[in-house]
Symmetry: C2
Subunit: 401 residues, 2 copies
């Protein structure tokens, strides 16, 4: 039943904003691709091999043993103080723990930002393409999202002045972006921070993947360059585990109080038990030993996918980039094909990906697709890319393009 | 700094709804009352003596040992299937697990309801007084909240027809309400369900305390009587522990999909690790052994508070009710006093409470106050009520009333 056709007798009336909430395209795609035996490059799941299960088990024991009652009681909306301090210490620019708000995943940070900064019809600038989860988090507050043109280095700065009028903020993921895997260069970041300052354009910087670099760390964040004009969103999902649902935001003093009030109204506070577990795991510098192992694993997986693409896509006019970190690679099908139509045929061949179109705020490039290289094993990557190439070859023959 | 006076150079513009978000009065009061040495009847904290720490420790071990990777990975927005099934089984009316959505505390259920059902200016009906956290969760969606007059049995049914036009729903906590501790009688529930049906007035039934009855279980829920017209909110915070931040909602098929989409946008899903821990603890019928111990403890605490009130308030023209369950007792100061003015004087005497006024959606009764009887020990209850009586006596002398 379409929920807009509610049985009138029950009296339910949906808010107008509910029209903007729709089943995630991605979610519907993932359902198709979760059939057993399918090699999936579609999901955005960290490799479970990186989850520090033994450390969490020890942390659980200590948290419940040392102050179980404290861990299980209601707690402050801002978050567990030692975790806020650990976040402030962890970040490589000067951050006051009072500016750190612990969130229920960084997705909640996006929800709070939307509530505090977006009115119905407010212009919100995003990258082209951009993270779908951000568009979904913003949608209930009914913004008018506008895509800023991007190249391989990120945001086209010249376009910002044109798009600035009325914009509440620019949402940007400068390092190993989801979905494209691209990274904003040092010079582009410097120019963006400078331009944001000149235009008085607030920035919302999302950085869930920044620590997952392969050869060299990405350039410093926008928040480090323009702290009073940037809300920074971080996550423990990619460096520890997503199943604890813990992220954080760092906000200028000017907007922190409203974000905190929105947080309190949304879920009172993030689970104190989980916050203490993570604080416990972070305490002895665990991340400094652990994150390099994730980097090495993901780099090897990316290399395997690049090698498989080189090998299997020969002569197919397929294009792809070489991400310097993160979890995703961005590819483009030969002219004449589109990724959404190809998907069912690829699934027939035993491989799945996400078409790029849903990630575009407006005019989409239907030839693009996102490939995650971190969930499947190297052997699966080899077989999966071969299957993808076979489906492209078959599609080209059918369309004779 | 007032966040509405943002430094213009940074360009931050707050959404209009942010004007409706304000520091919780309760939160500010709790800060005052958290001074060391103060006996506090102010907070809404379950007694930490009831937290099943050993069971959680065992559950952690099993969850991480059996399928740690699954527990730590991203998961479905609806919630962990075995937990949804356990909730459906636990509820004493016929509930399809497909109608159960696991939430990050039942506070999140209120946030999702607000997003899906409230437009700016929508009329929302609430009890008089009502749960402050609900008013806070609804506020960002900018409703016009209207209080329905209540007596000791709950909602005044006759008033509903008058207030129905344009109302999106009636929010109601029929069992051991926060803040009053009152319970809606069987006949009132029957009449309310019947009237809601006739008026096609949707119900949002919040039931965090329903299991904490002292002598007899409260009458069946409104959801059991009128399932297609009721969104039911439940919580594990009062029967297990609040620090895991787990609650749930049960929604009619007509509105479930939109609540699910709002949930996905809000935080993707509630922590899978916590959901599995609770599913593990529930598996062998733990709640059936555990909840009676909470009931017994809270009943003894209530009895201690009633006895102390009888003893200490003699001759003071103080009124109070006798809650049949839950955590709170509602009291009324003698004429001429008001609770907000009394609070600092009570704190001077070493005791704290919450003035009733913030719980009223509109015209408040300034003489009312909420007393929690579950956090302080029996000895503290005795000393605290004596101190409260002393502060009332002193205030009466000062005002010569």
């Amino acid at each position: 039943m379409n929920p807009h056709d509610l049985p009138p007798a029950t009296g339910w009336t949906l808010a107008r904003r509910a029209e903007r909430m729709n089943p995630s395209v991605l979610r519907e795609i993932l359902k198709v691709t979760e059939r057993p035996g399918i090699i999936s490059f579609a999901g955005g799941l960290p490799s479970p091999r990186t989850f520090p299960i033994a450390e969490f088990a020890k942390a659980c024991e200590r948290v419940l043993g040392d102050d179980g009652a404290g861990a299980l009681q209601y707690a402050a909306s801002e978050g567990f103080r030692p975790l806020r301090e650990a976040v402030a210490r962890m970040l490589p620019w000067s951050v006051d723990p009072e500016q750190v708000l612990i969130t229920t995943g960084s997705q909640q940070g996006l929800d709070l930002v939307a509530k505090v900064l977006i009115d119905e019809g407010s212009r919100v600038l995003v990258e082209t393409p951009t993270y779908l989860g951000a568009l979904q988090a913003f949608a209930p507050m009914q913004p008018a999202a506008a895509g800023v043109p991007c190249d391989a280095d990120g945001i086209d700065i010249a376009e910002l002045a044109r798009l600035r009028p009325g914009a509440r903020f620019l949402y940007v993921m400068p390092s190993f972006q989801n979905p494209t895997g691209r990274t904003m260069s040092e010079s582009r970041r410097a120019a963006l921070a400078q331009t944001a300052r000149e235009l008085a354009l607030p920035l919302v910087e999302d950085n869930p993947y920044g620590d997952l670099w392969f050869d060299t760390a990405p350039p410093p964040t926008l928040a480090a360059r323009h702290p009073e004009g940037t809300i920074y969103l971080g996550s423990f999902s990619k460096v520890l585990a997503p199943g604890l649902r813990l992220g954080f935001l760092v906000a200028p003093h000017a907007v922190f109080p409203k974000l905190l009030q929105a947080k309190q109204a949304a879920d009172l506070h993030s689970p104190g038990f989980n916050q203490r577990m993570v604080a416990e795991v972070l305490r002895d510098g665990f991340l400094e030993r652990h994150v390099p192992t994730i980097r090495a694993l993901y780099k090897a997986q990316r290399d395997a996918m690049l090698a498989a693409l080189e090998r299997e896509m020969r002569g197919l006019d397929m294009e792809w980039n070489t991400p310097q970190g993160g979890m995703f690679l961005w590819a483009k099908l030969p002219a004449g094909l589109d990724a959404a139509s190809l998907l069912p045929q690829a699934v027939e061949q035993g491989v799945a990906f996400v078409p790029g179109a849903p990630f575009y705020p407006d005019a989409a490039d239907a030839r693009t697709l996102r490939l995650s290289f971190v969930t499947a094993s190297v052997a699966e990557i080899d077989r999966g890319i071969a299957a993808l190439a076979a489906s492209i070859r078959a599609a080209r023959e059918r369309c004779a393009c």
